[in-house]
Symmetry: C2
Subunit: 192 residues, 2 copies
DNA sequence: GTCTATAAGTTGATAGAC
DNA sequence: GTCTATCAACTTATAGAC
């Protein structure tokens, strides 16, 4: 627990996070995790019951990470539109996709209630938090009264997740930026 | 080539389409394809060089299928906004995800130029066609002159792809509908 | 065309030594 | 805690009979 060397348990979780991001759950084997983490079979099965338990630890951490980063933008300075824009435009590893969103497309993650839970909770929190923010802007007169906060928040989160899909399909991050531009262009009309 | 029994080649392609949709490319094995199609090893390797060549035939067909279905909505009756709305709201197997969009999240599909090509072309065509339609509405005075057709089209396609992600994460198609609602609500402001 | 046999390597895990 | 040995099943084919 002390010393410079990070313990194997920690390395296993971090390597699993990387592999889940790169190859998904179905495409990640225990062998690949062991090789990347530098841990052997025994070490992995000592710390975790198996692949799914290790994946759960990795997914939980990735979801918490994204949540903290989003909240940092939401709680920042500026008007509601400025903060939403800052969140939508913040730097992202677009071509790698969303570390959590990609898992929603993985059949074995969605089939396992334990693994799906953190994915569901992350998007539930994100959409709700964004809706709160939009409503705050609406009440303050910054945004049009006709704007539906929750539907709009859902659309904005979808633009991000879909932006990843389109950018990967095109092999270029520009498409992601274009989708965000289009969404911000539409939102601008709702500004007073 | 005649008779009631569909030939094995056809069965192999259709079974592969189903499996790619359900489990992705990484999650689909030749054995699974053979079992579902009722074809043996020899039959599969007679008609196709291997898994990737078979997947290419399946992806090509799925992309062409989606393209034809989209064009049917775009070329239908009504104003531009009515046709775009009809396309966005048409019935979809939301919880299964987009048969083509899901592949953009698959590492082995994106790593293979041949397999990525039909995915890239489908989204390129869809976004371009939608942009044409939006521009048509803009020129006709149906939509605001300030609307950027291509960025807006990209955002709308992203809302659909992201809607699939959010709906799967939530385990409910309602989230997809909510995202579309939000997007249409924003687009409505651009109507004259 | 379709089938079965075979094969080298991987998957996801268990057992037991150290 | 971490390692190596072992395992049954699966992966992605190739070979050759029918």
């Amino acid at each position: 627990m002390y010393g410079l060397a990070v313990d194997k348990r920690e390395q296993l979780i971090e390597s699993t996070r990387e592999l889940l991001w790169e190859r998904g759950y179905v495409g990640t084997s225990p062998k690949a995790i062991q090789e990347r983490s530098g841990a052997g079979q025994g070490s992995m099965y000592h710390h975790f019951q198996g692949k799914s338990e290790l994946a759960l630890a990795a997914i939980d951490r990735s979801a918490e990470d994204l949540r903290a980063r989003a909240e940092a933008e939401f709680a920042g300075p500026g008007t509601v539109v400025e903060r939403v824009t800052a969140y939508l435009c913040r730097e992202r590893d677009v071509l790698k996709g969303c570390p959590v969103g990609k898992l929603a497309q993985d059949p074995d993650v969605m089939a396992d209630a334990d693994l799906r839970k953190p994915v569901e909770e992350y998007f539930g929190w994100l959409t709700g938090r964004l809706a709160e923010l939009l409503d705050e802007g609406r009440v303050a007169g910054e945004l049009d009264a006709s704007l539906d906060p929750h539907a709009t928040a859902t659309a904005l989160v979808a633009v991000l997740q879909g932006g990843y899909v389109l950018a990967r399909a095109a092999g270029s991050p520009d498409v992601f930026a274009k989708a965000v531009d289009g969404a911000l262009g539409l939102l601008a009309t709702k500004e007073n």
